[in-house]
Symmetry: C2
Subunit: 545 residues, 2 copies
Amino acid sequence: MLLLHRAVVLRLQQACRLKSIPSRIYIQACSTNDSFRPQYPSLTFSGDNSSTRGWKVMGTLLGLGAVLAYQDHRCRAAQESTRIYTKEEVSSHTSPETGIWVTLGSEVFDVTEFVDLHPGGPSKLMLAAGGPLEPFWALYAVHNQSHVRELLAQYKIGELNPEDKVAPTVETSDPYADDPVRHPALKVNSQRPFNAEPPPELLTENYITPNPIFFTRNHLPVPNLDPDTYRLHIEGAPGGQSLSLSLDDLHNFPKYEITVTLQCAGNRRSEMTQVKEVKGLEWRTGAISTARWAGARLCDVLAQAGHQLCETEAHVCFEGLDSDPTGTAYGASIPLARAMDPEAEVLLAYEMNGQPLPRDHGFPVRVVVPGVVGARHVKWLGRVSVQPEESYSHWQRRDYKGFSPSVDWDTVDFDSAPSIQELPVQSAITEPRDGETVESGEVTIKGYAWSGGGRAVIRVDVSLDGGLTWQVAKLDGEEQRPRKAWAWRLWQLQAPVPAGQKELNIVCKAVDDGYNVQPDTVAPIWNLRGVLSNAWHRVHVFVAP
Amino acid sequence: MLLLHRAVVLRLQQACRLKSIPSRIYIQACSTNDSFRPQYPSLTFSGDNSSTRGWKVMGTLLGLGAVLAYQDHRCRAAQESTRIYTKEEVSSHTSPETGIWVTLGSEVFDVTEFVDLHPGGPSKLMLAAGGPLEPFWALYAVHNQSHVRELLAQYKIGELNPEDKVAPTVETSDPYADDPVRHPALKVNSQRPFNAEPPPELLTENYITPNPIFFTRNHLPVPNLDPDTYRLHIEGAPGGQSLSLSLDDLHNFPKYEITVTLQCAGNRRSEMTQVKEVKGLEWRTGAISTARWAGARLCDVLAQAGHQLCETEAHVCFEGLDSDPTGTAYGASIPLARAMDPEAEVLLAYEMNGQPLPRDHGFPVRVVVPGVVGARHVKWLGRVSVQPEESYSHWQRRDYKGFSPSVDWDTVDFDSAPSIQELPVQSAITEPRDGETVESGEVTIKGYAWSGGGRAVIRVDVSLDGGLTWQVAKLDGEEQRPRKAWAWRLWQLQAPVPAGQKELNIVCKAVDDGYNVQPDTVAPIWNLRGVLSNAWHRVHVFVAP
């Protein structure tokens, strides 16, 4: 009986993998003034009809699978539904050895036997092991159906202790004490300041990254700003007038909405560390995400303060309202030419995916500089000025620059390199994961690709043999506008696994419309800060016998 | 005595190598309506004072060297000065075995013994072996001094036969019969149509490439156009007016002058051929050159014909006045957005390095599209129109596109790839040459680096050990304007040769201000047309014991 169930579910898994992902899912659960609050998501699909149909088919199949597969759990579930567990007990059940437990509302479920049957793959369910399902269900519309809840009910083993509420232990001396609550799926690289990335298998699940798992790169504690008293100071041009803009004032400028991918300069730094130690957070492939940003155009706001493009080089300097104990704020700058170019579409954004910015992403206002390194997209924006020179901020002048592999901390001259603005072409594999075992027969490879400066990704080549031979992946995601391809392309390739192959060295490399390519290897682009890590991405997997 | 001479000359050679090259030498010998006519060059230096002083010092030293070194040739020269030789005889003396002969005016010289003493290096003098010196002296200002002529006089062996005039054998049926005469230093990849590149050691001798050795990429016979009757047809916008512009009309638009590097998409194709056969001319590293171009801005001319930037994608199509036997003209297009952007500085150029365009470079008018592949810089421009689609020319739609290494002539779908516009970052080593033997002690490595789209070259890394360790080269050439770095940087590195090293694997790679880098190897960017060959450039040399 179980064998039959497994065969049905495997076919279901295949069906799910072969269909295309809906191109946009807006998750309205992303709330304003605080990050993730577990609740049932209210979902809006704006994909094309075929995708919506795809999900319906999948839902139906999933319902069928549920009925067939899990009948045998009813008995045990009924017997154990009255037991009471603490959150701590639940959180200790995160492996096949201890059992894999999850919660939904006040109910506790033992899903150990279901993990391998999870239609979305075991690894995605494992992200929730030992804790609540809500944050994950909020990301996956498919769960919001009655048959999924029926399926889960088979695995109920008890209830959460109603008195089990963790008292918040706020240390008032801790500048990070007031940081928002984050989504449990995020892989944390640093708690203070908070730096975290979504796991690869969630990253490319949606073209638009849901707000709760958008990668977070903070340099300082998150300020807690009152939208009613918030003011943005724009220093006026000589002869012009300085502005002190409320949120309402900003809303009065024409509103623009664009899809933009943000990438940290340190994305994929962990691969550089494998060559030689570098200074910086150990980002894997997830320091990149995509959102719909809306706000006023920087060029409109600057024009109102009397600024215009000038022949001499000038820079627009941004200052955040986040600051260190000495009162030094985060800062960065971009060239005035980019800021004043309407085609460059630089925004003072107050919305992210249709919602006010989450606190971790700059509430109430951040800069969005399409095609440019994340470090210039200053969050919690407090002040904008036009200067003859770049921002004097540490992060503009003594960080976020690239150097030759020969330069070390004894010889580095930060003034000798330009600050990173546009980023080079990038791509990475998100599925399968390094070290994973894939089925023989056919392998599905997924990933993302993006380039800086509005250059569109025109091709992704994938190799199964370490780069000897290549196949062209299928590009998904929104159509790119010429010279304004601000957002990534997701891609996938279904390829036959060569017969008799015991392992695969999967490699991807992207090409942008300037026909820029990624370098083959990491060592020759190694640099002491571990930025600009865009060599071919390589994943080694085993093939199931 | 000869030993003393050699020591003096070697010191002279060193002195020359260590000094910087004057940044601009305009050679006014480059004439309008025909390419190179041997004559003494009239030279204008516009480098800084220190460079000019550098040349004067060199000249003086050279004079001294001449007096010291070549006294012993006087006798023999006096004895042999009356002998008469045919051009054919001279042209058969091009090697140490046969003797190395050159001519200047009507005089014949045997410079076999001087070749190794040539202050500019033996390889440069060898370019003139068997023929006239004039075309080369026109490129090298330093020869235009009396003591150089005195030096040469020592080697005179006779006179050219005054009756030895080669009758031109024009075949009227040959469409290429009227092509201009070219500079003998050019390395010819194809005579009909004419395609040729300067040898590497001449290419980076000057920041501005002298017109006679600027690489030439013709697709068809060179038209012979009368500047007085020439008309450029600009198709008017709907509601606008078509224009028929004479050269004088074009001169009436505001004149802009910019330094722009042109590169053929096939530059360095010969390295791809080494991986696997490709279709195309075997360009080495010389299908790239730099000139000062002057003309009217395309945006001004289009505006006068009623064109303006529109929201929908459109293209500016160019048609040349060169055509094949069926009457099909060369054609290409660029996006209207680039054409109309004053910052993109697209020119309808009528001057090249202060002279009317040479015939091989589009006389009387060509397009210059800064930062974009050479194929779009349409020469002998006859017609400009704005279309909703790209040019239907073969060269826009069925050529000059990049593909995955997996694509062959059976599977290629030209519609699947965008036409090449901006080119990726590029660099190459011009000195030393592959297979050369360099002195132990110190090696000087020279080359060029350039990137498309106005992206400035910010760094060139050079390796002597095949890419294991790197040193940063010194960048020469003009300061680059932000976002408008249309011209190359020349670079050089003086590096100690590691003791005991018998050979060096010299490698260079450049980085542009979008931090794009060159790929490590050729095979993964191989494509069936052999375009976009921008892997690290590698040169293998031997070290003299």
